[in-house]
């Protein structure tokens, strides 16, 4: 049994101007000790996918279909009360804005320990000892348990956040742009730390980002999302060496080459579609230089183009042969 299997997940938002299919028919899986990168432009549904897994969607959002199987248990069917047991204990999150993700008037020790008290039914004293151990795990002195969030730098706060995410020995950690607000040096430290801990504890890790460059080293698998759908999913190396979907190609094209020419990369023409008025065929067709009639008329099926390499594109054969 896989650790996590997401099958045909559909999460829609009902807003006053209509229904937004933020996540539409998304499937992926994650094994113990495996890491998956979810990449895409802002608003492509990567955060919504993550929040759907733990059912922390804003009140406009609702899961309309699909299954989220955590070791065989379908989380999508659980109500909020039942879900509470799984949150943090099995799946924890590291949010983007660690600046604001910690309660400013609570000592970080208490913030880490309260989760341990809740899920492992131990006393606050024991929980604080464990919180100290975890803080050392993220390479921070344990006496910092007594400090408040404002007494830490951005990178330190993110470490605290990671420590907090580890508090209940979760099976999966979801990092929602965990390093976006940090400078490159700290970013590397944090990612290495997560890598080390993930291997040590054999945890699944989902890394959500718009920054392809950090995924190559960190993730075993990468899923590219566009307008609420996964357009391509493959093992990292395969994806970077043999990208099939035109969107993936463009994304990788935006990624500057260290040894290449010193010039700004061209972006991708146009903008992601208006999520309220989606085009009828392939969602990327309006921006795709290879698009033909069929692309504008029907939605492409997801096909397996190589081992564990899935692509949703009508032109996949041409794309592979063209390279």
């Amino acid at each position: 049994m896989k650790l996590l299997e997401v099958k045909n997940l559909k999460t829609y938002f009902n807003i006053s101007s209509g229904q937004v299919k933020a996540v539409d028919d998304v499937s992926f899986d994650l094994d113990y000790g495996e890491s998956l990168g979810l990449v895409g432009e802002s608003g492509c549904g990567k955060t919504t996918s993550a929040l759907s897994i733990v059912q922390l969607l804003p009140k406009e959002g609702k899961i309309y279909g699909g299954e989220i199987l955590l070791e065989g248990v379908n989380l999508a069917e659980l109500n909020d009360g039942e879900m509470q047991k799984y949150r943090w204990n099995d799946i924890s999150l590291v949010f983007q804005g660690a600046m604001n993700a910690l309660n400013p008037v609570m000592r970080i020790g208490d913030q880490i320990a309260e989760a341990i008290v809740l899920h492992q039914k131990v006393s606050m004293k024991e929980a604080l000892i464990k919180a100290g151990d975890i803080l050392e795990l993220v390479e921070m002195p344990r006496d910092r348990l007594m400090n408040y969030p404002h007494e830490f730098s951005g990178g330190m706060k993110q470490r605290v956040m990671i420590a907090m995410a580890l508090a209940c020995d979760p099976k999966i950690i979801i990092g929602d742009e965990p390093t976006t607000a940090l400078d490159v040096m700290v970013q590397a430290q944090i990612l290495n730390l997560i890598e080390k801990l993930r291997k040590e504890f054999n945890m699944g890790f989902i890394l959500i980002t718009h920054d392809l460059s950090i995924l190559t080293e960190t993730c075993d698998k990468i899923a590219i999302m566009y307008a609420g759908k996964i357009v391509e999913i493959a093992e990292s190396e395969e994806l970077f060496k043999k990208p099939v979907h035109p969107y993936t190609n463009k994304l990788i094209g935006c990624f500057p080459d260290m040894n290449g020419e010193r010039k700004l990369k061209e972006g991708i023409e146009g903008a992601p579609p208006n999520m309220l008025e989606l085009p009828s065929g392939c969602l990327f067709a309006p921006r795709c230089e290879f698009a033909s009639d069929i692309c504008h008329q029907s939605m492409p099926e997801t096909v397996e183009v190589g081992p564990n390499h899935y692509v949703a594109c009508h032109k996949w054969e041409e794309m592979i042969n063209g390279q």
Binding site: Y86, R87, L93, F95, N100, L102, P104, V105, L118, Y148
Partner: protein, 322 residues
Amino acid sequence: MRRKFIIKKTMYAIITVFIVLIFNYILFRILPGDPLSMIMRNPRATPEMVDTVSALYGLDKPWYTQFIMYFQNMLHGDLGMSFVYKSSVTGVIATKILPTLWMLGMAEIIAIIVGIFLGIVAAANRGTKIDVGTLGFSLVTYSMPTFWLGIIMVSVFCVGLRIFPVGGMQSPGMSFAGEGAQLLDILHHSVLPIITMSILLIGEYALTMRNTLMDVLEEDYILTAKAKGFSRKYILRKHAVPNAMLPMITIIAINLGLVIGGAIQIETVFSWPGLGSLMYESLSARDYPLLQGLFLLITISVVLANYLTDITYSYIDPRVKD
């Protein structure tokens, strides 16, 4: 860190009071009207008599000597003589301060508890009928004029239903069987002004609490708390309310400071023998020393309330003390 912070804040408070003292002193010097004629009220007084009285009150001395005298006397608790009561200002204020503290203190306590509770309930049930109802109630009571609600309450409960006495703090001309009976009589008189005042205050507390709590509930750390698997109740109690209380404390403190002098209307409507009525009286009688004393009291209570807020903040908001 905290000691340094407290010392700094104490210094600020003392300096503020001192500056206000100077303004307060100057204000009453430049007001129209000659204090001598107010005191003597005798158009046929001889120059000798005027000089005697002038020397008695120290009015023959230059202004700076007068200020130093005023300051020295004040430190000894002597705020001068009231023109109207012909007794010491400190004494007059002392007899009126307890009724005010009792009535407004109770009203504040009730309003703070009920207001915060309503605000939490409304914010936790955002967008529901409970929220709309609380919001409506708060807006209506918040915008009601004090005297207007007072008059309505008097006409309904005292004149119409005859449940409560019309005004004052005790039934006049009554002799009581014991202290218990007297206390009961005071309580009976207190109910209506206390309730009226609370109603007027609840709205502000409820609205502020609702708004700050709703902002706090949108914060990232609330999402973190949810992700940690806590129930809504726990998150509200442990994470949201403590953060939302910070701005509330400022508002409560400002109100507490104003309570001492800000109850002129309610005390007048209910003929409550407190500082509000006293200020109204001394204003109409141009009792400058008494007014000066009252102003000083109000200043000190506002400064003190702000001072206490700062100190409280340093205990509940870890970001403040540095």
